[in-house]
């Protein structure tokens, strides 16, 4: 036991780490777990670099625990990019101030709650209990990923920690709200998934014709507000017209 933990300790890398994803992308890694403090470091570096983008840096992609910087190496050398990133980190205090808190409508009723009963059974919870727990949680928006406008949310209560399916299920509808692996996802695009569909939101997290196609930022918080199927349909008509139906919480 002692040996093992000693080895594990020795293997633990010192963060931040600068990793290469080829010659045109640099990964600045702050950790290897889903953790709000690590994510806050990622977002702080992202904000600092975007405020004053280094020449040759093309695109910044924040994820749970690292920032991927796409760059043109013929315009900026890797070492110079690292120097600027280090400087930005030294000059930035990772802000504890919270982002906006969004209230996102979610219908947990048929036909939207495709896997709700299955998830409730696996979690040994009543259906209403599961919904109540899910809707009561204030979730952190960690990142967008996988497909356009897909949000990855953390901060689910432990009671909702469910493993991914061993095999993917057939494609979920657009707007599905899913859970797995202790996380929650809002998925604007129809995709097969290994997660469990609890419900659906009429909100469009990505709307190309809207002035701001994406309105939620990583670092924001989010709560789901249960709505019935009739309300869902009404809200859906509004979002189809380009309206945003999510509300910013005053709290």
């Amino acid at each position: 036991m002692m040996l093992q933990s000693g080895a594990a300790l020795a293997a633990r890398p010192a963060y931040p780490r600068f990793l290469d994803a080829g010659e045109t992308a640099l990964v600045v890694e702050f950790g290897d777990v889903v953790d709000p403090a690590i994510n806050a470091q990622v977002l702080a570096l992202d904000a600092a670099l975007r405020a004053d983008p280094p020449k040759g840096a093309r695109e910044f992609v924040p994820t749970y625990r690292s920032l991927m910087i796409h760059y043109e190496p013929l315009e900026i050398e890797r070492a110079e990019l690292i120097r600027i990133a280090r400087q930005a980190m030294a000059a930035t205090t990772v802000s504890a101030t919270e982002g906006a808190t969004w209230i996102l409508p979610c219908c947990y009723e048929p036909p939207f709650a495709e896997d709700l009963d299955e998830a409730a059974r696996l979690l040994k919870l009543g259906r209403d209990e599961l919904v109540a727990l899910h809707a009561a949680a204030t979730l952190r928006v960690y990142m967008y990923g996988f497909t356009p406008g897909q949000l990855y949310l953390g901060g689910l209560p432990r009671e909702l920690a469910i493993s991914r399916r061993p095999e993917p299920r057939p494609p979920h509808p657009a707007g599905a709200v899913l859970i797995a692996g202790g996380l929650c996802v809002v998925a604007p695009f129809v995709m097969p998934t290994g997660w469990y569909v609890l419900g659906s939101t009429p909100e469009r997290l990505y709307a190309p014709e809207r002035q701001n196609p994406f309105f939620i930022q990583p670092g924001d918080n989010l709560r789901f507000e249960p709505v019935d199927a009739a309300t869902f349909r009404g809200l859906e008509e509004r979002t189809a017209r380009g309206e945003i139906v999510a509300r910013k919480s005053a709290a």
């Binding site: 290469d20 010659e23 992609v61 994406f214």
Partner: protein, 347 residues
């Protein structure tokens, strides 16, 4: 001169599955989960565009092994074909090279079919294609329905309106682009970002292969067949960003190279990343073709990138097949094959 053509355009007579419009990619939205898409072989795409006088990242058709047949409408169009070694013919007459520049007269039929090697080629049209932009780009990503024509692949009877460039008609010519001569065999990679998930012997096994592109290879990912790799410490990582060319190793130990249409983030360790200059070389490698990986440093990758940029900056030379300015209709009456021999050796 044609009499009062209303609109210039390219009409698709037939197109193999997966034919798409691609520009240099939909950049700057990866942070919102939006894949850049763009050409599978960026170097060939740029070459075709430069040959017709377009910007290197202009919108062009990406042609697959399924081939394509097109004709011009309204006005003659200056077009270029560049990429893999495809078989190109004009009105049924085979052209002597896969990399050609020509004037496509209305109703003349340009046909591109799979040839001896290569998996993608690009058909660029001098001027501007009149298609709607999505987030600043025409690049097609069919999985999410972004870009191109209604976010889908191009098919028979599609018409692309063209605002032709003012350039004069060109005689049929061969595009001299020696940088497109990239025999398969060695694909250079930079290790990481998660090479520390693999022991040294596994890195060696990864390097030496040998690998073959499997039949499961498309714009999103190339599944490759070879040794089964084992992870030193699990295969689930907390998702992070994915660059084009990233080689992820899922739980079954069989690597997947993520290509232009890849998802923006993922949760498998990425052992290495194909360097930019070799992305096209890998993309052009057909199923069953053997190759190995060569591990290079970032500095070596940048040197290769610089060499590529320098070559492109020197311009794309076009060698006229016949040094006269006849219309292509007239030109096609000539014995083209003899003309080629006279013009110089084929590559």
């Amino acid at each position: 001169m044609m009499s009062a053509p209303s609109e210039a355009g390219l009409r698709i007579i037939s197109a193999g599955p997966g034919t798409t419009l691609q520009d240099a990619g939909r950049h700057f939205y990866l942070r919102f989960g939006i894949t850049a898409a763009g050409p599978m072989d960026p170097l060939a795409h740029a070459t075709a565009n430069l040959a017709v006088g377009n910007a290197p990242g202009a919108t062009a058709l990406e042609v697959t092994l399924g081939g394509i047949e097109v004709t011009a409408e309204g006005r003659p169009l200056t077009v270029a074909v560049a990429g893999g070694d495809f078989a190109v013919s004009l009105d049924g007459r085979p052209l002597p090279s896969a990399n050609v520049l020509l004037t496509l007269e209305p109703d003349a039929v340009l046909k591109i079919r799979a040839g001896r090697s290569g998996a993608w080629c690009y058909l660029a049209i001098a001027g501007r294609l009149d298609v709607a932009e999505v987030l600043g780009s025409h690049a097609t990503h069919t999985r999410t329905g972004f870009g191109g024509i209604e976010g889908r692949a191009i098919g028979a009877d599609d018409r692309l309106r063209v605002e032709p460039s003012g350039a004069a008609a060109v005689p049929l010519g061969l595009i001299a682009a020696p940088w497109l001569d990239r025999p398969p065999g060695i694909i250079r990679v930079v290790l990481g970002p998660q090479d520390d998930y693999f022991a040294e012997d596994q890195i060696a096994a990864f390097r030496d292969g040998p690998w073959r592109v499997s039949t499961k290879a498309d714009r999103m990912a190339f599944f490759i067949d070879g040794p089964t790799l084992t992870h030193a410490r699990g295969y689930n990582i907390v998702s992070d960003g994915i660059a084009m060319g990233a080689i992820q190793v899922p739980g079954n130990g069989r690597p997947i190279v993520l290509m232009a249409d890849r998802q923006s983030t993922g949760g498998y360790p990425k052992i290495a990343t194909v360097i930019g200059p070799d992305l096209g070389r890998l993309a052009q490698t057909r199923a069953g073709t053997e190759f190995r990986f060569e591990i290079v440093s970032v500095e070596q990758a940048v040197a290769a990138r610089r060499a590529e940029a320098t070559a492109l900056a020197s311009g794309v030379a076009v060698e006229p097949l016949v040094r006269t300015d006849f219309t292509s209709e007239f030109l096609l009456g000539l014995n083209l094959i003899d003309g080629v021999v006279a013009a110089g050796p084929l590559r």
